[in-house]
């Protein structure tokens, strides 16, 4: 049976305390792996390594892994090339035991804009029809999450230009705008500091407006011809736009689709007796023409 006297107990406590003192420094060293909370991408820095002897150092980043032997009690340089990609990095130093710490690499200054302009063609004077989205990246193509002001500069083919400034959120800035009243190319340039990206959108005439035709008869034949087909802003509809002529007479109903050529659409029908002819372009109906009295 073992018995412990009071003196033995005191000695035991002292020995335990001594043992703890021996152990604590290694714990303290483990807790003293000092890394910055965050660094900018591509910025070199150093990590002080306390203690003595050799250890193995590991750096694990989003696209990079480093493993090398290091001497404790020195500064461990982290090269700029080791921290180019934004994200969380893990540092592990293993001597007799391993200690670890983490830090964040944040994107550097904006250097690239990834810019989308949608759609590529848009009718004039259409509300909310143009969308511009810009993603901001640094020189290492890390998304720049720090808010930045992107200036969208709009330059129409005719008329005064204008701009809109939008702040990025999570690296993206977007805006929506109406198309301008005149057809032609509109350039939208996303600008951030000295970084610029330009895209071009083609504005085309909107739906036809006040569509009118005239009829010229010659015997059984009638020639139908529209006036120059324009939208409500006065822009000519592009050649190739289809105009539909519909004739109703004794022979029945027939429709002819014909493309606009040089701004007008023309078609020839044979007519038997009274006839009614209408014209349409897209969803727009034009005037009607009655030939030879009522049907």
């Amino acid at each position: 049976m073992m018995r412990t006297s009071r003196g033995d107990f005191t000695l035991c406590k002292r020995l335990t305390g001594l043992a703890l003192l021996c152990v604590l420094p290694s714990w303290a060293r483990a807790a003293e792996l000092q890394v910055p909370a965050s660094v900018e991408a591509g910025q070199a820095f150093s990590i002080p390594l306390e203690g003595s002897g050799q250890a193995t150092f590991y750096l694990l980043g989003p696209d990079h892994v480093v493993k090398r032997s290091v001497s404790l009690g020195s500064e461990l340089p982290i090269q700029s090339g080791d921290v180019r990609t934004a994200g969380r990095y893990q540092v592990i130093v293993c001597g007799s035991s391993c200690t670890s710490a983490g830090f964040e690499v944040k994107a550097a200054q904006p250097a690239h804009l990834s810019f989308f302009l949608h759609p590529s063609r848009v009718p004039v004077s259409t509300p909310g029809s143009i969308d511009a989205t810009a993603f901001v990246f640094d020189r290492y193509f890390n998304l720049v999450l720090t808010p930045a002001a992107v200036d969208f500069q709009i330059t129409p083919a005719s008329g005064a230009g204008f701009s809109r400034q939008v702040s990025t959120r999570h690296g993206a800035a977007w805006m929506r705008m109406d198309s301008t009243p005149h057809e032609g190319r509109v350039q939208v340039t996303a600008v951030l500091g000295n970084v610029e990206e330009a895209r071009v959108i083609q504005q085309v005439a909107a739906e036809a407006c006040a569509l009118r035709m005239k009829a010229v008869t010659s015997g059984d034949m009638v020639t139908l011809e529209t006036e120059p087909v324009r939208d409500c802003s006065g822009n000519a509809l592009p050649d190739g736009t289809v105009v539909s002529f519909t004739k109703i007479d004794k022979a029945g109903k027939s429709t002819v689709d014909t493309p606009i050529k040089k701004g007008i659409a023309r078609v020839q029908f044979s007519v038997r007796g009274p006839a009614q002819i209408s014209v349409a372009c897209g969803v727009v109906l034009g005037n009607e023409v009655a030939l030879g009295g009522k049907l």
């Binding site: 965050s38 590991y58 480093v66 964040e104 969308d131 959120r169």
Partner: protein
């Protein structure tokens, strides 16, 4: 000619048995693949208040599924050291960086095991033309780092990622995956 006749007879005799056997082999392989492939991590997508375009239900389901596949493949590739295991879910910067990371892991003899406890995705941006979506992923991951068979470190903290996904013909691709400082859940 005699040989041809023998061959035809042999094929006639063997064919039904061969087809049955092949069917069984394919079925067994499919079963084995299904059993061996790790389970998909849980992904929950919250798209409430998404701007400038709302997300359709089917799109949301597809994104969540492919994001889960992406993380399954990512975990598998980081552990096995096989970049080919990344599958088709990653493209662009995300894929380039992961491939490089896996290559350098292999050189260093290091690998990582991820125990994935799930992802809470918050959709934060969806472009009007539907060509890009940004997500904020709050992930619960246990990350174990090994040098050979020696466990170096275990991290069991919340992780937060900014994710850029873009649509392809039949899936949504992870184009950018950037970890940021996580706030406690």
């Amino acid at each position: 000619m005699k040989n041809m006749a023998e061959l035809t007879l042999a094929v006639k005799n063997i064919s039904p048995r061969f087809v049955k056997a092949a069917t069984l082999v394919i079925a067994a392989c499919a079963l084995a693949i299904a059993q061996s492939s790790p389970e998909l991590p849980q992904v929950h997508l919250d798209a409430a208040g998404l701007a400038p375009r709302p997300v359709e239900e089917l799109t949301g389901t597809t994104i969540a599924r492919h994001y889960a596949l992406a993380w399954r493949d990512l975990a598998s590739a980081l552990e096995s050291g096989r970049a080919g295991g990344l599958g088709d879910e990653f493209v662009g910067f995300a894929k380039d960086r992961l491939v490089q990371r896996i290559g350098e892991q292999n050189q260093a003899g290091v690998h990582v095991r991820i125990v994935d406890h799930g992802h809470h995705l918050k959709a934060i941006f969806y472009s009007t033309d539907g060509s890009a979506m940004q997500l904020l992923d709050q992930a619960e991951l246990e990350i174990q780092t090994f040098d050979g068979n020696k466990l170096l470190d275990t991290q069991n903290a919340p992780h937060e990622y900014i994710v850029l996904v873009t649509p392809g013909a039949d899936r949504w691709y992870v184009r950018d995956l950037e970890e940021v400082s996580a706030k406690p859940f």
